[in-house]
């Protein structure tokens, strides 16, 4: 393991793609999850509004 640490210490800039990848993945996963939750929320609210209209029409027919 020490060999690996020493090897990486000689070329710290060569690790930049890993640094970029770690932060990029973190952002994609965190915001991807929030986007997914918000999208489902939006779709369900639209569905509730649609079904509520059907219910209201039923009540006015009665």
């Amino acid at each position: 393991m020490l060999d690996f640490i020493l090897l990486s210490s000689h070329l710290p800039s060569s690790n930049l793609p890993y640094l970029f990848a770690a932060f990029a993945v973190s952002w994609v996963v965190l915001f991807g999850y929030l986007f997914y939750v918000n999208r489902r929320q939006h779709e369900m609210r639209k569905e509730i509004a649609r079904l509520q209209r059907v219910l209201d029409e039923d009540q006015s027919d009665e």
Binding site: F4, S8, L11, S14, A22, V25, S26, M44, R45, I48
Partner: protein
């Protein structure tokens, strides 16, 4: 006369949307400051180089997953005692967000391991116990989905949430109990006081606080979604009863 009826959107958490919006703004600003501190202020590690900056995301994210599963543990216990759906909603939201965090802890760990250990993955104690933790809480979400009724799903999930929490201290102590190539803890009872430079420790603390806000915001979003799911279920039930 003005209409005094509530104009809440279906699934909204009462007076909480204002709190949620404030939390989102605070989290966003804190995250921007956090990124500035990580990339512009934090010193570059003399041995590991720039890749060490992953540490400021990896460690708080891993600790947040522990916190999320602790919330699941408490909320599950309360649900089994009180049988209040509110506790089940908290446990469910926290478990889902916890799975997101532990997934990220694994992914960022894998990416960090490649340049440092020269391997993407190794079956050493910390990584193995974390993988088990991930599997337990994925199982928690699956139990909930596949249960015959929602009420049974909540009870089964609460049991998994309580029993599954046993793995959290095992993950933390794994680097102390067994020979491991994973670094020793930097936070908690086994952390060495001189393991971090002062600036690094402060930025890590700030990063941790930022993720606490992020966690709270995500849990609130997920709880609001559950309220909407319930509202939709209610409307569908009413329509079915009317034969539509």
């Amino acid at each position: 006369m003005a209409n005094t009826q509530s104009m809440e959107r279906p699934g909204s958490l009462g007076g909480l949307p204002t709190l949620k919006t404030s939390l989102a703004v605070i989290t966003g600003v804190m995250m921007l400051i956090d990124l500035y501190l990580i990339f512009m202020v934090a010193p570059t590690d003399s041995v590991l180089g720039h890749v060490q900056r992953v540490f400021y995301f990896h460690v708080p994210i891993a600790i947040m997953s522990f916190l999320a599963f602790f919330v699941v543990f408490i909320a599950s216990l309360m649900y089994l005692i009180k049988r209040s759906p509110k506790w089940d909603a908290v446990a469910h939201a926290s478990a889902e967000v916890g799975v997101v965090f532990v997934t990220l802890a694994l992914i960022t760990g894998i990416i960090w391991a490649r340049p440092i250990w020269n391997t993407w993955w190794t079956w050493e104690p910390r990584l193995t116990t974390t993988m088990i933790l991930w599997l337990i809480y994925v199982a928690y979400l699956m139990v909930r989905s596949y249960a015959p009724t929602q009420a049974k799903g909540a009870i089964y999930a609460a049991v998994v949430g309580i029993v599954g929490f046993v793995d959290v201290p095992i993950v933390y102590y794994s680097v102390v109990w067994w020979r491991s190539i994973h670094p020793s803890p930097v936070v908690g009872p086994f952390a060495q006081s001189d393991s971090l430079d002062g600036t690094m420790a402060l930025i890590l603390l700030y990063s941790f606080i930022t993720f606490v806000f992020f966690f709270a915001y995500m849990v609130m979003e997920r709880m609001e979604l559950r309220k909407t799911e319930e509202a939709l279920g209610h409307v569908r039930f009413t329509l079915r009863r009317k034969g539509r």
